[in-house]
């Protein structure tokens, strides 16, 4: 019989290089799943949110109900949201994506609508005076001017989604949350800490990435400052 190895895994330490090297593939798979769930959810949320915000802006009466529904959706805790979707999607990745889409949608609609509302009336009138039709006005004047507010919403939605994916562990589709959940049940400290830190790192990287995209898309905001 060989003696049990005396390394940081056996001693169940919080920080463990051995863990990183032996479980590299598990970690990588979890990170990939985490990124997929986040990206798909936020993208679907964005695709639905833009037309909703534009419609709510166009028809004044729709803005009230749209904002009320988003407030209600945002108030429902994530675990309850996933659970309410269980009868529809079962124990699947779609359930997590659907829940995250609802949260992203909420944040995005609010921010895009705020951005559209902040477009100065004079700007709109000037464009109309230059012969812009409603579609061209929307695409070349209103949406670009709403972009900073929309990007701010997108960053919040993305960071929130990265963090909320972990709750998906309840249905086995939580990316790094799965590792945290499994680590909790086995008191595996290195796994819980590593997965948690990776979550925060992904959130920060996503935020920085979107900040970069925002700077590329809205060069005029920098020109006025400099």
């Amino acid at each position: 019989m060989t003696a049990p190895p005396d390394d940081c895994l056996a001693r169940n330490e919080w920080i463990c290089g051995e863990y990183l090297s032996t479980r590299r593939h598990i970690l990588l798979d979890a990170v990939v799943q985490h990124l997929q769930l986040t990206a798909v959810s936020v993208l679907i949320g964005l695709v639905i949110a833009v037309p909703l915000a534009v419609l709510a802006r166009r028809w004044g009466w729709a803005a009230g109900p749209v904002l009320a529904v988003t407030t209600i959706l945002y108030t429902i805790p994530s675990l309850a949201m996933f659970s309410l979707l269980l009868p529809v999607y079962g124990l699947s990745a779609s359930l997590v994506v659907a829940g995250l889409v609802l949260y992203s949608l909420t944040l995005l609609v609010r921010n895009i609508l705020a951005g559209l509302r902040a477009v100065p009336e004079e700007t709109r009138q000037a464009a109309r005076g230059m012969g812009y039709g409603p579609i061209r006005l929307l695409l070349t004047v209103e949406l670009p001017l709403a972009l900073p507010a929309a990007m701010a919403g997108l960053r919040i939605a993305m960071v929130s989604a990265v963090s909320l994916v972990t709750v998906g562990a309840i249905v086995g589709h939580g990316g790094l949350g799965n590792l945290i959940y499994a680590g909790m049940n086995t008191y595996f400290k290195a796994q819980v800490l590593t997965a948690s830190v990776l979550c925060v790192v992904i959130a920060i990287l996503a935020d920085v990435l979107l900040l970069g995209v925002q700077r590329l898309l809205t060069p005029w905001t920098r020109a006025t400052r400099g």
Partner: protein
């Protein structure tokens, strides 16, 4: 549709309301956790934010702390706390995590509220011979109140959500009905628990909404 009627049957079964795992007990746990942690967080965050806001210091920290709070997963913090010595005393991890996640909105809103008070009003107060403390308590605090209360409202909703996730890490509260439902593979119980949690969260939000409407005109937010 059958799931919904099953969930309704689960909710209306008196056997599910009684006992230590019953709905009444879980509801009470959830309520106590939320209220106690809201009071603790306010006691910690508001004095700090009010003084920093009054002095105009630490702004970058007060504002960025919200972003940090959003990036850190609640579930991860709960499990990390559970594996530390705090995990040995019952609801310890839940209480610590709840307070940690309620602090950012309280700090940020109270700080920004204090800074957004019209500077000319503050100068007028100083010109009338008010001391720094008098200015803070009698002038800045009342004017910042709508923002501060908005922060309390956001914190309360956050607390309800965090207390729910705490069930995943063994904490008490309504979330336990959901996690128990998952363990039993009982979709009706999961849905019934989710309906209870959602209703609880919406009622908390509604109470703040009503309180805001009933508040005197000057204490109302711009919403």
């Amino acid at each position: 549709m059958t799931t919904l009627t099953d969930a309704w049957d689960w909710l209306t079964d008196p056997a599910h309301w009684a006992g230590d795992d019953g709905i009444w007990h879980r509801l009470l746990q959830h309520l106590v956790l939320t209220v106690v942690c809201l009071v603790i967080s306010c006691l910690i965050a508001l004095p700090i934010a009010l003084v920093l806001g009054h002095l105009g210091k630490g702004g970058a920290l007060a504002v960025n702390i919200s972003n940090i709070g959003r990036a850190v997963p609640t579930f991860a913090v709960l499990v990390l706390l559970l594996l530390t010595p705090i995990g040995d005393w019952g609801e310890g991890p839940t209480v610590v995590a709840l307070v940690l996640f309620a602090l950012p909105p309280l700090l940020t809103n109270a700080y920004v509220g204090m800074r957004e008070v019209d500077r000319s009003v503050v100068q007028a107060a100083r010109g009338m011979g008010m001391t720094g403390r008098q200015t803070m308590v009698q002038v800045e605090l009342p004017l910042a109140l709508p923002m501060i209360l908005n922060g309390v409202r956001i914190a309360a909703v956050q607390l309800v959500a965090t207390a729910t996730i705490a069930a995943l890490a063994g904490g008490g509260g309504l979330g336990r009905i959901i996690t128990a439902g998952f363990n039993l593979a009982s979709t009706p119980q999961v849905v019934a628990g989710a309906v209870l949690v959602a209703a609880f969260a919406l009622i908390v939000e509604g109470v703040f909404e009503i309180a805001e409407r009933l508040a005197p005109h000057w204490a109302r937010g711009s919403r």
